[in-house]
Each structure stands twice: as C-alpha cells, then as structure tokens.
Symmetry: C2
Subunit: 351 residues, 2 copies
Amino acid sequence: MSDDHKKIRAEQGLISAPVQATINDVAGLAGVSIKTVSRVMNNEPNVREETRERVRCAALSLNYTPNLLARSLAGSRSFMVALLYDNPVPSYIFAMHNGVVARLRRSGYHLLAEPLDENAPDLDKQIKLLISTIPLDGVILTPPLCDSEVILSALEAAQIPYVRVSPFVNPDRSSRVFMDEKSAAFQMTSYLIEQGHKDIGFVHGHPKHGGSHRRYEGFYQAMSDHGLVINPDWVKPGQFSYESGLEAGRSFFASATRPSAIFASNDYMAFGIMTIAQQMDIKIPDELSIVGFDDAPGSILIWPHLSTIRQPVHDIAYQAAEILLDKSLEKKALELPFELIKRSSTSPHHH
Amino acid sequence: MSDDHKKIRAEQGLISAPVQATINDVAGLAGVSIKTVSRVMNNEPNVREETRERVRCAALSLNYTPNLLARSLAGSRSFMVALLYDNPVPSYIFAMHNGVVARLRRSGYHLLAEPLDENAPDLDKQIKLLISTIPLDGVILTPPLCDSEVILSALEAAQIPYVRVSPFVNPDRSSRVFMDEKSAAFQMTSYLIEQGHKDIGFVHGHPKHGGSHRRYEGFYQAMSDHGLVINPDWVKPGQFSYESGLEAGRSFFASATRPSAIFASNDYMAFGIMTIAQQMDIKIPDELSIVGFDDAPGSILIWPHLSTIRQPVHDIAYQAAEILLDKSLEKKALELPFELIKRSSTSPHHH
DNA sequence: CTGAAAGCGCTTACAG
DNA sequence: CTGAAAGCGCTTACAG
C-alpha cells in the first residue's frame, strides 16, 4: 500500500489489515522502478542477475503477488478461462472441472464455472454478457454446448479462443479433444457378437449430443460388418437419462420377442433398462446381456456390474486446457484412447 | 474503443474486430461524462430521468457492458467468489456449483472453481496465493475444507468474507448453512427401531468430516432413548468411500452373529456393504436392512433401492451464496430441512 | 540493462 | 443533478 495510506492508518490507530503489497512497495524496497519489478515477476530477460535477485527478495519479504485484475486490465491476458456446460451427468462435469483446473493452475490461470441451459431462450444474451463482461483468455465447451451455433459464433465474433470437447457438428471448426466414440461402440458391439449374440438391441442417446450419433454409427457398422441384421423394433429412442432407460426397458420387454443383448448409449439408460428387467424377473446376464457407455460411478454399484466404455474425462479436460494455453493459432485435434470394460452384465449367448 | 484506435484500424484497413465499447464511448454518444454513465450503470440516484434514459439508449446501441476487471480494480468489489472443495462425491460438488452459480448470477457475480487437496503440504501457500492474486469478494467452503484451520485463518487474516457449509469445528466462527445431521441420523435410527430392529450396526464416516460425528451422535441418541444397547463390535470405522464400505461389510459378515440392520454414514459405504452382502448371499432387506445418508444417484440404481437421507444440496449452496452477497456483517446460521427417504433396502424385523 | 510516461476501464472523493 | 481529477495496480511502448 502507498505511504499515504499507511500514514492515515497509523494516525487513525486502525487495526492494520494486512493490506496486499503492490508493485510500488516492492520497487521501493528493492530500490528499482516498477518496470523492473514487472520484468522480474514475468521472467522477462534483460535484468541483471543481481537486480533480479534483489527484487525477488523484496517481493518475498513483502509477500507480494501481482494482482491478477491489474495485470489483466493493463495487459493482454486475463488469466481466466471459462468452462461452459449443460450436462446432467455429475461425474462427467466433476472430472472436467478437476482436469481443466489441474492444467490451468500450473500456469497461474483460474477457472470460471459457467453452467448454462442450452434451451434457454436468452442463451445468446447470456453468452454475450459473459464475454463482454470478462475478457476471457479462453473457453472450454462440453457437449451439447460444443455444438451450439449461438455460442460458437459469439465466441468467434469476440475472437475468444475456444476448445471443444467431443464436438459433432463441423469438428474442424475449432481445436478439439475427443475419443473415437464410433470405434468404441464398434468394439463394444463386436464384443457382444463374439459372445454369440446376434439379436442385439440399441438405445439412442440424446439427439442433441453428437456422441449419440457416433455411437449408433459404431453399432451399425459392427452389425453390418458381421452380416447381422438390425431389427428396427429393437432400436429405441432415448435421452441419456435414467428415466428414458426405464421407458426403453418397458418398451423392449412388452413384446413377445426380445433381443438377447442390448447396447444402451450410456450407463444411465442401461441402469434404467436393468431396473425394468429386474422388475420383470428377466435375469441379467443369463437371459439378457446389457452394456452401457461412460463408466459412471453407478456401473459398479448396480448388480450385475455393467460392462461399459470408459472415457478418459480427466485427461480430455487436461488436454483441452493444454491446447487453450498453447496460444498457437493452428487448430488441433487430439484423440484420446478409450477403454472397453468387461463386467458381469454380459455373458455368452447359447442358441 | 477510443477514436484514435478506430482511426488506426481504419487506416490500416484491418478487419475490425468487434472491440468492446467502453464507458468513454457511451459517454461520448450520450453527451455526458463518464461519471454519469457510471451512475446509470450502477443504478445510483441523482441522475435526471431523461439523462438516465439517454445513457441507457447509448449503452444499448453500443452493446456496452462494464468491464468487470476495471470495476474491480477501481472499486471495492471484484464480483468474484470462489468455491473451495475437496470432496470426492461428484453429485455433491455438482449440485454445489449449480446452486451457488444460480444465486451469484442474479447479482452479476462469477464463480471460481477451486478444487484443493486438504492434505497437500502446501495448502497454506495455495490458499494464500489464491487470496493475494485475486481480491475475492467471498469464499464458500464445503466439508472437509470448512474445518481447515489453515484456510480459515488465512481468509480471516485477509478479511475475506466466507460462508461455511455444514461446519463442525467451532460452528459460530462464521456464517454457515447446514442441516441437522444429528437429527436426521436420529430419525433414521428411530425408523429402523420402529421397524422392530434392536441389533443395529453403524459405520462411521471419514473422521475429518464433521458430518461423521454428528451422524453418530444421532444414532447414539436414538439407541439410548429407546433403551437399546450399542454393540461395540457392530460399530465399524469408515472413510465415506465405497471401498471402506466393502471393508466394513466383510468385517460385519465375518462374525457368527450380525446385526439385523446397519446404518452406514453415507450411501457409498452402504453400497459397499450391499455388494458384500450380495456376494455372501445375505438377502437385503429380508435378512438385513440397510440405510445410508446423502441420496446419491446410485441409491436408486442399486437393488434393493437404498433408504437414505436427502440433503438439499442445491438449496444449501444457493443460500450460502445468498448470505455471502448479503454483506451484512452479522454472522448467520441457516438450517435447511432434510428428508428421510424410505425405499426397499429396509423392512420390518420379525423376531 | 533500466526507467519515466501513458494508459487499460472503471470508481472514488470531491467540487459545484 | 452533473462533472473534472485522481487513482486502482499493473503492462505497453518508448527512450536512453
């Protein structure tokens, strides 16, 4: 704090709050200009080592940390990144936060948590307000917001760098981090087929999530590659929610015939189907194999444990932040590996 | 942007990025001083209605939004609040984020997500760095960080307002939002007793979480109020994790005798116990009733569905933010109601 | 290698 | 009811 303020405080006999030291305090103590302090704090060249050391000492003894807001206002970086999300799966969002923060923190950046409602009529206004209020250094977008034209064009108009996680629409429009969901679904389906299943049902995910489509593609491909026919009656709509899984389950089991295996586009829907199966006394996996996608925490709670695909969410988030901090202008596309996890909800089918 | 900059851009023929309008632009367009614009934007009194309207028009037509960083630097508020957490339950953290943001947004505040490791040796440095880097307007602390002396004293030294969620140590040290966990545990235990259970086991939560102790207190109270004896062999340690539930389960079922009901201090541990019970072919609820605490998403996935206590996490988070924005200096203690949820993991005990 | 000056976009404290 | 001046704590652009 300035000398004047110190004096005033002393005169008034106020309990001295431990006011933050500023660049002026450090400069004064080290006997240099604030520009030199700035150079040292930013690890810029052209400072004599002795001077550098003196400034470092002064900063340390005053417990000085540059004020992020002042740096932002004067400089070209805000050290703030926002994570935009509208995803109902807590474990996914949790891992996204942790992964992004893990990378940002290493570079002194901070993360703004910005949950949004994709269907809000004023989404456009909301995103523009955010952008114009805080000069963000970057934005990370998760499905389904990563495919929101309103958001993408607002970010581009404001020239804010952004990285998309698992985008579906126009993937090369921006840098992105993703895993091969189609291939994952292909492998999962192939696994079921190898187990002797031919009559395999499928439950779609939320139509606004790109993953829904990629997963169906993988399923479709595996079925045709193996010369198997997809029964349209066994392909159900879904919303990625537990409730839509319940509904799909009821629909599946209302018919006289049913598939010997079901591929649900995510775990929550698989849980719903399993609940209905249990109610109707359909034994899993003996009478019905079932698989999901995501490896949600519940997949080892439910019985039998759910075979599923594990997404490396934490890594995906970390890498998305990495790309954002790169500052290189070229667009990047980083693919991360998935993992097929075989548990007890699947078993060989005997004809 | 300033006229000079506009000119330069025009001269160079640059593609004009939609640079943010500033207070100067609005003042110029409206024909008033920037101070008047400031008054209007902050809804301060002493502006003629006509002037006010003129400024509003100008701001609207320029798409002007005050720069948060500049407001922070010049003023006394940063419009930034941080949520500090080190809690492994994704659904809890997810709901905390959503609840806090829901309230903050109404007042134009933003939320920094700051996951921390309570056991980090440099937790002290981390928190001090955060505090000195960004002048936070407030902090919200969740268990177990809400009981971290290192964090609390750092916040107090920096005179940063904070609200604690469900604190255990020295609850009146700050404003807080909580539910009556003891009473919830009391009611849950009483419910089991009413069902005819007398031999009731208990699994402690993580010792660093205050909730663990309060929940045991409620259990203890209910047992003694009903003249029932607590068998020390049936009180197991736990860590709030699924794994510690598995361990508790193994320990319970290794003995010749076991309780007819078990109260696990949270759902994840209950899930672990249920897994072991299933493996050992112990029928729930016929041979063993079990209850948890939290109403985690898995509690309706597992079979049978888990009877548990629902915490109003979203509301708690919302109210914590509300108190933070209040700015009144008095400490507040807000209690929110819980809900006892009876599902199929419990049944009457017949002697 | 170092510094003086100007400025980032606002609010504060004061004057009229 | 309104505004001119100073300043928040830094960085930028420039000079030496």
